[in-house]
Symmetry: C2
Subunit: 211 residues, 2 copies
DNA sequence: GACTCAATTGTGGTCATCCGCAGTGTGGAA
DNA sequence: TTCCACACTGCGGATGACCACAATTGAGTC
């Protein structure tokens, strides 16, 4: 199991050591990576925690690393560290979904606070995603026909009408319907609607932002 | 009705004129305000569009103006303009929900693009909020007893059980239930659940759920 | 060929929902 | 006082939902 970790990605060993020590004294578990490439090679989508990413590194920069991560579906909050960032860089990073953007030198407390908030955010995201994934798993257990019937049930149609539209008997609809309820772990169409309602929205927001 | 406007808030008349001219040539409707105070005094929550806010102004700064707006429930996207912003300022503004943060000098095209995206975002937000408000209006038509029954219906309970919990007859529950459907403009509990699924908090829940 | 699984259908019955009809009682507004 | 909105109730019937029991067919697997 992956424990939540603050992943420190920086090619400066002195800084890595300092951050590792800082996090250890604040009881924040962390891991060290000496380059963006090394981190990307190891990165797994199921990791939890957050990423503390230095912008200026010898090979791949932190910003490039961030882009690659986002393409690969990373959901971990990313905190950028930079010695000489400019405003457009910070704005771009945040608009692309970075969690925060800190200029060196920064207060130890400030960084730790941000990391702790990032860890909390990831934990929350993880929780809500877990329940959504569970629904998706149950949904995957349904046969095509069952899904078809389910959709019509959710459209509020009577079994009679569903039978008609699918050109099958009412009895068959009842059987499918019962199996859908059973497999989805609900006891009524109302519960089913509520279970599926949150995940039935369209479009993922691009940029967002509440805090 | 309020047309979507790009509200230009800047105490420098030359800049206001330039922006107004720029927007007009791009067919973006705009309005001018010569100070944060003037804008705040006129501001109405139902306005649509976006706000182009200069940071450095004589009296109240753009950042202060932004804080006041957020407190008052502003939902319009805010685009900051600044001649000499620093990274922490930009980061803070974006994390507090600003739409964008542009440093002068900027390309005309860049600003117009941002404004157009901001207007689009507001239009989208407005649309989704409208349907939500409509649901709220319908909910407000329900009598207290009807809302109570509705919550129990949405909990997936049988009329019999609802009658029991409220210590009334089944027939009365049926009457309330029918009125709820009628007033909410739905024809079944499933439709009701879907209508209310995105936005809802528990009220008057007696016992909690199982499953 | 035996076996599993998805899809299909019927019978007959129970329980829940929905509705029209016909009322009672209460508290506030005109 | 009259009118009205709200809450409440009973009866009986039509319709829908759910279920146990019992089967058939075709596709794909072992």
């Amino acid at each position: 199991m992956s424990t939540p970790l603050a992943h420190i990605v920086d090619d400066d060993e002195a800084i890595r050591d300092a951050l590792t020590w800082l996090f250890r004294t604040r009881e924040v578990a962390s891991a060290e990576w000496s380059s963006a490439e090394e981190f990307l090679a190891a990165w797994q989508p199921e990791w939890r925690g957050c990423i503390v990413l230095d912008i200026r590194m010898r090979e791949m920069s932190g910003l490039e690393c961030f882009d690659v991560l986002q393409e690969q579906g990373n959901t971990l909050p990313v905190i950028f560290l930079t010695g000489h960032g400019d405003v457009p860089m910070a704005v771009s990073a945040l608009k692309k979904g970075a969690f925060d953007f800190l200029e060196k030198p920064f207060e130890d407390n400030a960084l730790v606070d941000v990391v702790i908030r990032a860890l909390a955010k990831d934990a929350k995201r993880q929780a809500s995603q877990a329940s959504q994934a569970s629904v998706a798993n149950h949904l995957a257990l349904l046969t095509p026909r069952e899904q078809e019937v389910m959709n019509l049930v959710l459209a509020g149609k009577f079994n009679k009408v569903i039978a008609d539209e699918l050109s099958i008997s009412m009895r068959t609809v009842e059987v499918h319907r019962a199996r859908v309820f059973e497999k989805m772990g609900v006891r009524s169409a109302v519960e089913l609607a509520q279970l599926l309602a949150p995940s039935r929205d369209k479009g993922s927001g691009s940029d967002s932002g509440e805090h």
